[in-house]
């Protein structure tokens, strides 16, 4: 690499991004050098704008630019069901499915004692407060189908059940369009366990 200090700094910062290695960083950096300033600086401005204006929704801890996120602020959502996710990004995935029209609650992670993440590090007390003060009839636990996600879901289920609220979990099974041959044994086992009646 050439010894141009500003270019080296840019490369270092680009390599810090997730999924960007030295080759991608170099490709992007030279593209930036080679592209007219206004186009390139728009990215820098967008970074500042996001860090200055986006914060957590004070109710559900999703990202928001206003006090409440778009879902908490909307009057078109079903307020009787709350979907609990680990991180805000999962909301985008669920919204894309088009299968859910309720509200959300972001935990900010999943229980992981080894990493020092206990119930107090997650937005669980805020979830319980929401459940206590509103007419929620169902909580859909949409944490990841991993050890941490399942642990978190079990923990929450035990907390919520005494309130008389229905607690559900995303189904596990074969990915639609997937091939049986390539399914791992745990997923296939879960798919057999959770088999359902046809007709």
């Amino acid at each position: 690499m050439q010894h141009i200090p500003a270019l080296q700094t840019l490369l270092d910062e680009l390599e810090r991004l997730p999924g960007i290695g030295p080759k991608s960083a170099s490709r992007i950096a030279y593209w930036m050098l080679n592209t007219e300033k206004p186009t390139v600086v728009r990215l820098a401005d967008a970074i500042h704008e996001v860090k200055d204006t986006v914060h957590f929704c004070k109710r559900c801890f999703n990202y928001a630019q206003d006090e409440l996120c778009e879902f908490c602020a909307s009057s078109d959502r079903d307020t009787s069901i709350i979907c609990v996710v680990s991180v805000p990004r999962d909301i985008a995935v669920i919204e894309k499915s088009g299968a859910f029209n309720g509200l959300y609650h972001v935990l900010g992670g999943e229980l992981s004692p080894l990493d020092g993440v206990g119930p107090d590090q997650l937005h669980i007390s805020e979830l319980m407060a929401r459940l206590g003060s509103s007419q929620v009839r169902e909580v859909l636990l949409a944490t990841n189908p991993t050890v941490e996600g399942e642990t978190t879901a079990s923990y929450l289920a035990r907390m919520i059940q005494p309130l008389g609220i229905r607690v559900t979990r995303l189904a596990s099974g074969l990915p639609v369009g997937g091939d049986l041959e390539f399914a791992d044994e745990v997923t296939l086992g879960r798919a057999i366990e959770n088999r359902r009646e046809l007709l």
Copy 2:
């Protein structure tokens, strides 16, 4: 995707980068949201810094932060040989090989009449001026081994030869460590044409 205008703008700007698709952009954007501000803003600052301070070396048209690039300014380089490349990025690749210790000249592209790139759009007159006023004994043409690169090299060779300066070209042949089986026929043909004596 969620309707957070600042996030959407950031995603749009990230997707403009080479090699970054919607998935990578989303991953990077959420990483930025999730990372503390000083770390993230360093990238924005690095972008500004590069666009504000990096310009072309006034002698060879490499990128530089001072008036001359590190090679033109150095006293450790062999000033009797100039390596001609298409774009500044190629210099980094040649330097990495460790096989060249001369000076450089960046053309700023390659001849491509269909794209409207003729000799006047490249830094060819500046190259000829350098050759006329210095003790250069060899010009190594390191344009790409493509139609445009070869055309540019032939054109330059015809221009430089009358000056009595040795004109050389990067060798074409099999990539070291490559497998004969996977060599394309043009490369293999060139490797046979340019075969050399062993001992």
